[in-house]
């Protein structure tokens, strides 16, 4: 399931909604990405997330489908927020559920690596001296590459 929203999410409630009444699940992995503060000389005041409505949902659905093809998963949830966020706020939640833990661990990691390099979101950081768009990291591309080796 995919949710793209401005509102915050409650991790416990989301996991419960995904798994309630299920007896076929043996492992649940959650990953939460949050807004990090800046450095002492360049503190972060806020972060604004822009996205491409329509393509965001279709890319996240494509990533979810890819994970379901690679691993036997009992459930997948991706929530990504947009709009203005403050340090400490939630940005993204990935929940994977499987019968055994390895599929859930691997799929959650894969989903985040794919999301980071494919989902059309852009972060703009505002500090005391103004705002800057965050540059993409080559380490994110490297993280993605490891999934194409096998």
């Amino acid at each position: 399931m995919i949710k793209v929203q401005a509102e915050d999410f409650d991790i416990g409630a989301e996991v419960k909604a995904l798994t309630e009444g299920r007896t076929d699940i043996g492992a649940i992995v959650t990953f939460t990405g949050t807004v990090r503060d800046g450095s002492a000389d360049n503190p972060l005041v806020s972060m604004t997330l822009e996205h491409y409505p329509g393509m965001t949902e279709s890319e996240l659905a494509r990533i979810e489908k890819e994970a379901n093809e690679r691993w036997r998963l009992q459930g997948v949830l991706i929530i990504h927020r947009f709009g203005e966020l403050k340090p400490g706020d939630n940005i993204v939640l990935v929940v994977t559920a499987s019968r055994h833990r390895q599929a859930a661990f691997d799929a959650a990691s894969f989903l985040m690596d794919f999301l980071k390099t494919n989902a059309p979101f852009w972060k703009k950081e505002t500090g005391p001296d103004g705002a800057n768009w965050v540059a993409a990291k080559s380490s994110d591309d490297d993280a993605l590459d490891k999934w194409s080796e096998d």
Partner: protein, 85 residues
């Protein structure tokens, strides 16, 4: 051919455009051609689209590469490398 162009993040800010309808010349066949054509549309386009290693393009909401053909595109989006998550 009339196509909807969308711009995101600093490409939107530098061009001053979020969305526009553009009549594309027939001799533009690939994404690479299109980026070159965008560069010639004015000083703000020249500076924004001059940095072609950080320009990404999506055609009808799917990621494209410089070799991707534009034929039949209805919506073309321009944006920097994504930074979500």
């Amino acid at each position: 051919m009339s196509v909807k162009f969308l711009y995101f993040a600093w490409l939107r800010e530098q061009t001053g455009i979020a969305e526009e309808e553009v009549a594309l010349p027939d001799d533009i066949s690939t994404v690479g051609d299109l980026i070159k054509w965008q560069r010639a549309r004015g000083p703000e386009f020249e500076s924004a689209f001059g940095q072609d290693d950080v320009i990404r393009v999506a055609i009808d909401q799917s990621h494209a590469s410089p070799e991707t053909m534009l034929a039949g595109a209805r919506e073309i989006a321009f944006f920097p490398p994504v930074t979500g998550g």
